[in-house]
Chain length 350, copies 3
């Protein structure tokens, strides 16, 4: 596909700051690997020197001269844009239109239970199992090997699988994507100890996943004991994340790989939980809060606070503490010296 810079700008926005808008590009690539005929981008100043060396034919740059002052007349065509990374994403979509090769229709090897509701345009792949009373919304794809339990509801334009398990009565919204191997609605981990034995608490609640949520591979989101575990609109969850029973996650939150959230904890909207962070149960993480990687959060966090460490503390202070921990050998030496000097002084002044 040939697209001229002029055509591109009409679709992704921005303006040509240098070079010939009639030049055409055929694909996209990162600034270090891009070759002739390719479009690239820079979003940070530290990449500006690449403008002198890149083989790209065109580069999207931030809309501020300081980013492209390094450019020479041999530099590629420059497209200035207020959001260069977002513009690049739009260009990526132009050159790589999604084509999953999936066509509407129910594969004869799929198992469809009784009283299942299937809207128009749905694809159900080989060996998928859709149990009684489940509902699948328009243009959704249930990929091979998926399991959709009794009474589960899948919205429209949602894709799950392959090999995903959505257990009974759980609900997924519209435009939800669930990557392979993920389990939605397994029983929460709840027992009452009595007579030295752990008695299982029936987990009679469900999971609700709202619209536009994306869930990675091998993620576990447990059903509520009673009521619901809920992931709100637009939230994105990476691989191998654990979300326990009765957790609530707000809108547009980012949960990075291998995070664990314990039971009944409420995570706000626009929160970031970085990789391998762990949250205890029954706490609240305020809107806009950021939990750094590997942090262990044992207490509620107010809105917009950034925390780090295990146990987690305010980010700036914890960074200072990490520096001081790194200096503990010197600190120990200074204490020893103080003791020696003080003892000498005490002797001298007796």
């Amino acid at each position: 596909m040939f697209v001229t810079i002029q055509q591109l700008v009409e679709r992704i926005g921005g303006g040509v700051k240098q070079g010939d808008a009639a030049v055409s590009v055929t694909g996209v690539e990162g600034i270090e690997r891009a070759g002739p005929g390719q479009l690239s981008f820079i979003a940070h100043k530290k990449y500006s020197p690449h403008l002198k060396t890149t083989n790209a034919s065109a580069v999207i740059v931030p809309d501020s001269e300081e980013f492209w002052s390094a450019a020479t007349e041999d530099s590629p065509v420059l497209i200035a844009h207020s959001q260069p990374y977002y513009a690049f994403l739009l260009a990526l979509r132009i050159f790589h239109p999604e084509d999953t090769g999936i066509k509407p229709g129910i594969d004869p090897r799929a198992s469809i239970g009784e009283n299942v509701g299937i809207a128009p345009g749905v694809h159900i792949g080989q060996n998928a199992v859709v149990e009684d009373r489940a509902e699948i919304g328009a243009e959704s794809c249930i990929l091979p090997g998926c399991y959709v339990g009794r009474g589960a509801k899948i919205g429209s334009e949602t894709t799950i699988g392959p090999n995903v398990s959505v257990m009974h009565d759980c609900e997924l919204g519209n435009r939800v994507r669930v990557h392979p191997g993920t389990v939605i609605g397994a029983d929460g981990f709840g027992y009452v100890q009595q007579g030295g034995v752990h008695h299982k608490i029936p987990q009679v609640g469900k999971v609700v996943i709202e619209d536009d949520v994306e869930i990675g591979a091998c993620v576990c989101i447990d059903r509520a004991t009673m009521g619901e575990t809920r992931i709100k609109k637009g939230t994105k969850i990476d691989n191998l994340v654990q979300i326990a029973h009765n957790v609530q996650v707000g809108e547009h939150t980012i949960i990075v790989s291998q995070v664990g959230i314990s039971g009944s904890t409420k995570v706000g909207k626009n929160v970031v939980l970085a990789g391998q962070a762990g949250l205890v149960g029954h706490i609240e993480i305020g809107d806009g809060a950021i939990v750094a990687a590997q942090s262990g959060v044992a207490n509620s966090i107010p809105a917009n606070m950034k925390v780090l460490g295990s146990p987690a503390r305010e980010l700036g202070r914890e960074k200072r503490i990490h520096v001081l921990i790194g200096k503990l050998p010197e600190m120990a030496k200074r204490i020893k010296e103080l003791e020696n000097r003080l003892a000498e002084l005490e002797d001298r002044t007796e």
Copy 2:
């Protein structure tokens, strides 16, 4: 379903301390969400004030007046019980009797190998694969998409799946539950380095899961190199847990989500391993020990000891250490001040 308080007390125990035992309830709910016609419970004193405000029709309370002194004559019916949480669990089972909708029988889309033993009342779902010489005990359920390898043995009233893999020769006891996506009996992670290459050590042992064990979703329990990896009776394992080859886990132990246990480690009975804790290989965790969340355990732990931290230390001491780590900036300042004051004093007394 209408159940009178009188009927309830006959089934779950306890005694009516206030209100009319002829009142009936139709369901259960948490104290904050319970409405008219619902039964709830409190187990801790901090929830006692809810007795004044809850809309529940009846509440199970601990068998001690201090818990219900907050009640007024407008409060719901009070059922005093020595184990209110356990009593609530029993009530939950009354109002939510398990009904999986699963009926005995082998789905025609299941694959059954040669010389497979299938006891009466077994359910084998769509696309499940049961390989040669496997045995499935009475009333067990192999849900859709499960794989049961050659010679594997599944006990009675055990449920696995969907999409669970139980590899060849592994053994599951009676009343075991395995949630979706879990893998039992993959090869242990063992190599010998020779000539710069990692040579695989054949993993010829198996996994044995004893009676009444519950295993969460996406859990990995590796087969032994030789001999067996064993999870003993009544132990409960949460999602995304890693249990390496030749590990032994004792009876009635709790292993919370994302814990990792390295090879050949022995975990005692009634142990608690909290979320994201990691144990190195070839150590022993004594009976009744508690390992706090995110701890890293590099040495054996005696019975009943509680540990925290990475590296893990005795809980009480480590909590003090965590407080002191939080005060390191002040500690550094105090050392600096001591140095200044001491230098001044040294000057003065020269």
Copy 3:
């Protein structure tokens, strides 16, 4: 199977240092559990005393007298070998020749798309799905319930599954093993935030797994945003590991369970990443580096460096720091004492 010590030595190397080479053994076992008729080994001096007590009929020992000076004339036959653990591995393979019971052929319940290339000797199990244009190399096994996406390429003598998902266009080399539940080629976790919403960056790259790589159960290796995520020859990956988009892992590296590697990070060859370690994105781990368990690596690491801790520091220094952290209560007391003594001295010398 009876094998004489003489026959064994001819196949695994080493030499008989004590006892009768005509003695035969019928199996292998660890030194503490080995009984009559069994072969065992010791590789560390601390196990030498077992030579006096073991019931094994023969023991492989290191090729140095100090290891077997504890032996008596009642001790088992001793085979001295320069690499006793490797020799034991070879013996293990003799007594446990791999027999998966899997025969070439495509099960009628497998789904094979259009223009799929299937080399001779391939096994494709029940309910496996191989999509259009995929290629499966000679003697490879696609076990039941596996999904192989459009255009994916699987090399020769490679085994995947059961219930593994290899997504479209991903490539696996020869003699690769992928254990159950693993997902190769799910979308990388990439979004651009714009207008309070996370816009998905199309993930149009792929995953390349080179020859002789082994991948555990429930591992997630994400496809690249553009280009490729690559795992090089001979690397071994344990269960529940997360490898993000565009990561490169060098040859013969060991990645232990529950490790997480963030996007675009480059891990060298012969590296060891121990259990639950986490690596941020866009860093480089030099060849031969070792990252200890639970470490959090936020910066690049030079070749052969060993690091520990979160944040990770040089191993030796971090071990001293861990000791000092353990002594913080005493350190705080010493500072308090210094302050008291200094105040007293200041009073005295005023």
